[in-house]
């Protein structure tokens, strides 16, 4: 148990990013030049792919064949974006990435809602309503987060088959709920454990029961942690490839799988501009969430990283 708790504590502690730091240096020193130099050079490495993807997606194929991958487009065209979204083909099906996008949305919404609902109740029960054996199940859950998915892929095929959800969107929703459970439960358990005890005691004295306390007291005061959990799940589920490729069928493929299909099913010449537009489109949802949510995102992923 100790390791688990400590990991949770470490994650929680690590996510607090405050303004503390060594003293300011205002002088324009040699050290500072070195410092900023390093940061700018490394920053370029990080920005390069995004830049290259964007400019490539705005060029026409003749211009791409000229070669300069870093040069800005001489003539900006949005054709590749249109094609990637609505016309790119996998086999006969030339409906572009749009289908995958909507599939991903249909997978995403129930998965996020269900996984967070289940995990928040778990965390609540584990921190405030412990019962005999609850810690054992929790430990198994956390250890489960480290088990390579590969060892569970096939048994899940069998389970989904038995309940008749194989290939169905709901089957994938269930898989995401199951594999999102360890980390989300940990997240909520640690959060609810930090709730002031007086609050909980007072509610108990007033005779409030399990669900009453959950809905009337705990839910309203835990909005921030829900936002963290949502960010974590939205990016995680949107970016999933492994489960999507195994537990769905072509018409229910999520966007990542369809992206890989479109880019890897070449018809004659590779259309790099369309490929890059498609890649950007797929990355757009998590990127928007990232840039919009700022520090909350950091907390979300720091928690999610435990998932590996």
């Amino acid at each position: 148990m100790a390791n688990v708790d400590q990991l949770g504590a470490a994650v929680a502690a690590n996510t607090v990013i405050g303004p503390r730091g060594p003293k300011p240096r205002k002088r324009f020193s040699r050290n500072n030049i070195f410092l900023y130099g390093t940061l700018i050079v490394v920053g370029m490495y990080y920005l390069l792919p995004l830049y290259v993807m964007i400019i490539t997606s705005l060029k026409g194929m003749p211009e791409i064949r000229l070669g300069n991958v870093f040069g800005p487009p001489l003539e900006v065209t949005f054709e590749p974006w249109v094609k990637a979204w609505a016309e790119a083909c996998t086999g006969l099906d030339c409906t572009g990435l749009s289908k995958g996008f909507w599939n991903s949305v249909q997978i995403l919404i129930p998965s996020v809602v269900l996984s967070i609902a289940v995990a928040s109740v778990n965390g609540y029960a584990l921190s405030l309503w412990k019962f005999k054996g609850s810690e054992v199940f929790f430990t198994i859950l956390i250890i489960g987060a480290f088990i390579p998915y590969q060892t569970m892929l096939y048994p899940i095929v069998i389970m989904l088959r038995e309940i008749g959800l194989m290939g169905d969107l709901w089957g994938l929703v269930l898989v995401h709920t199951v594999f999102g459970m360890p980390i989300l439960t940990l997240l909520f358990r640690n959060y609810f454990a930090s709730v002031p005890e007086e609050l909980f005691k007072a509610a108990r004295v007033d005779g409030a029961r399990f669900w009453q306390i959950y809905f009337q007291i705990m839910l309203p005061m835990s909005l921030p942690i829900f936002v963290v959990a949502i960010i974590l799940q939205v990016t995680g589920i949107w970016n999933d490839f492994l489960f999507g490729v195994i537990y769905t069928k072509p018409e229910t493929y999520p966007m990542t799988v369809q992206l890989n299909n479109i880019v890897n099913s070449v018809q004659g010449v590779k259309e790099y501009n369309v490929n890059m537009a498609a890649t950007l489109l797929t990355g757009l949802v998590p990127l928007v969430i990232y840039f919009a949510s700022g520090k909350l995102f950091v907390r979300g992923i720091a928690a999610g990283a435990v998932k590996g």
């Binding site: 086999g91 006969l92 290939g167 069928k249 072509p250 890897n264 070449v266």
Partner: protein
């Protein structure tokens, strides 16, 4: 048994009533330009019957698509019909009772008589029952040559593999890649197979692949095969594409001299508007051994609870092998039809060569029919390793013989 009798009863009831429009989802891995054009012929023909073809194309080679197809069938969410190569791939699925028995359709359509060569139907047969429809014959042993590349180098287009190897240094000097090769295991295995038949000859090939005789695989004729493959590896050194059709594209555009690829490369040449004998040449059996294997694609129909769908599945099975559909599909795909009684006179030179070989009986079973998916994967892995490293020929031969020795 119980299941199949139930099914027979169910279909009997349904086939009596008039078939209404049914949507059938068909999965396949035909996603290159030529292939997609061919599969469209199936879809058109099926839609013309008033039903609907729901296309379930899965990108990537069969290696990517097969697991998806199989896991869906096993997962209890079967498609209505699916492409699978003939042979041993579907054996276990049939044994588990997951595939629709097509014997009645086959008898009604007299498949026994019309399918040529009969071995195609044999691979669809298990315990006397027929479970799949062969739709085409694929042969892998073709050498495709670019006239542009040879013109640029000032050479005559070779007429067999040996001439090609001899011409390679001149091609290279002219800045052309002698041999285009996609860096994927199945392509490298295909090239190896083609070289084997050309270099080792039929008897030894049969002894190794069909009878799994590891001693022959360790012998001198196979040593020569591996040496030839090692030489070919040098010729393909500068070919850095991954997909087979990208490699074909190198030949079409004259950036590479030749490619070892199956007859489906024909479709890419057609789509690019290249003319046989003028822009490119094809040499079946590498011009040495005029022989082709008869692997191919077949469609299987997973068992379905819905009697209406079952009836439609049988209707589709009969349609796929009907003469008109066979002609239009195979012309687009560049493969050979599974029935000898249809008019293929509109086919181009390459297909005519193939038809000629077929008519002369120069055929042999394909690896798919003789080796399990497991063994095939092991051989593909070995080939992927061999072609992209400097593994000596004798070492590769020893490993190959070990795989053959343990093959089942």
């Amino acid at each position: 048994m119980k299941l199949s009798t139930k099914l027979m009863a169910a279909t009997a009831i349904v086939s009596a009533s008039a078939a209404s429009a049914v949507e059938l989802e068909v999965t396949h891995w035909w996603t290159s330009g030529g292939e997609a054009a061919a599969v469209a012929k199936f879809a058109e023909a099926w839609n013309a019957t008033g039903n609907t073809w729901v296309d379930g194309a899965i990108a990537g080679s069969g290696g990517t698509a097969r697991p998806i197809i199989i896991s869906r069938i096993l997962g209890g969410d079967p498609m209505a019909a699916t492409q699978l190569n003939h042979g041993r791939q579907a054996e276990e699925l049939i044994e588990a009772g997951l595939m629709l028995d097509l014997t009645d359709v086959a008898e009604a359509g007299n498949w026994r008589e019309i399918v040529n060569p009969p071995s195609l139907l044999d691979s669809c047969t298990l315990d006397g029952r027929i479970y799949c429809v062969p739709v085409n014959i694929h042969s892998a042993q073709w050498l495709w040559l670019s006239h542009d590349a040879y013109e640029a180098a000032g050479l005559d287009v070779p007429t067999d593999w040996n001439e090609f190897v001899a011409s390679a240094p001149a091609l290279e000097a002219a800045g052309t890649i002698p041999l285009a090769m996609g860096q994927q295991g199945w392509q490298q295995n295909l090239a190896f197979g083609a070289i084997t038949i050309a270099v080792a000859g039929l008897d030894d090939w049969r002894e190794v692949t069909v009878n799994k005789n590891a001693d022959v695989a360790r012998g001198e004729s196979y040593a020569a095969v591996f040496q030839a493959a090692a030489d070919a590896r040098e010729l393909a050194r500068n070919s850095n594409v991954q997909d087979w059709n990208q490699a074909t594209n190198l030949v079409i555009t004259g950036q590479a001299g030749a490619q070892l690829m199956g007859d489906w490369a024909q479709g890419e040449f057609s789509v690019a508007g290249a003319v046989e004998g003028q822009d490119y040449s094809c040499l079946p059996g590498l011009g040495l051994n005029e022989i082709l294997d008869t692997g191919g694609d077949a469609f299987y129909f997973p068992v379905n609870d819905d009697p209406e769908i079952t009836a439609a599945q049988k209707e589709l099975a009969a349609l796929l092998i009907s003469p008109e559909v066979q002609v239009s599909f195979n012309l687009a795909k560049g493969s050979l039809p599974v029935r000898g009684d249809i008019d293929m006179s509109t086919a181009n030179g390459c297909m005519q060569k193939g038809l000629g070989i077929l008519a002369d009986g120069g055929i042999l079973p394909s690896g798919d029919q003789s080796l399990s998916a497991d063994t095939q994967t092991q051989i593909e892995d070995l080939m992927a390793q061999f072609w992209s490293s400097d593994m000596p020929a004798d070492e590769a031969q020893a490993k190959y013989a070990d795989i053959i020795a343990s093959a089942d």
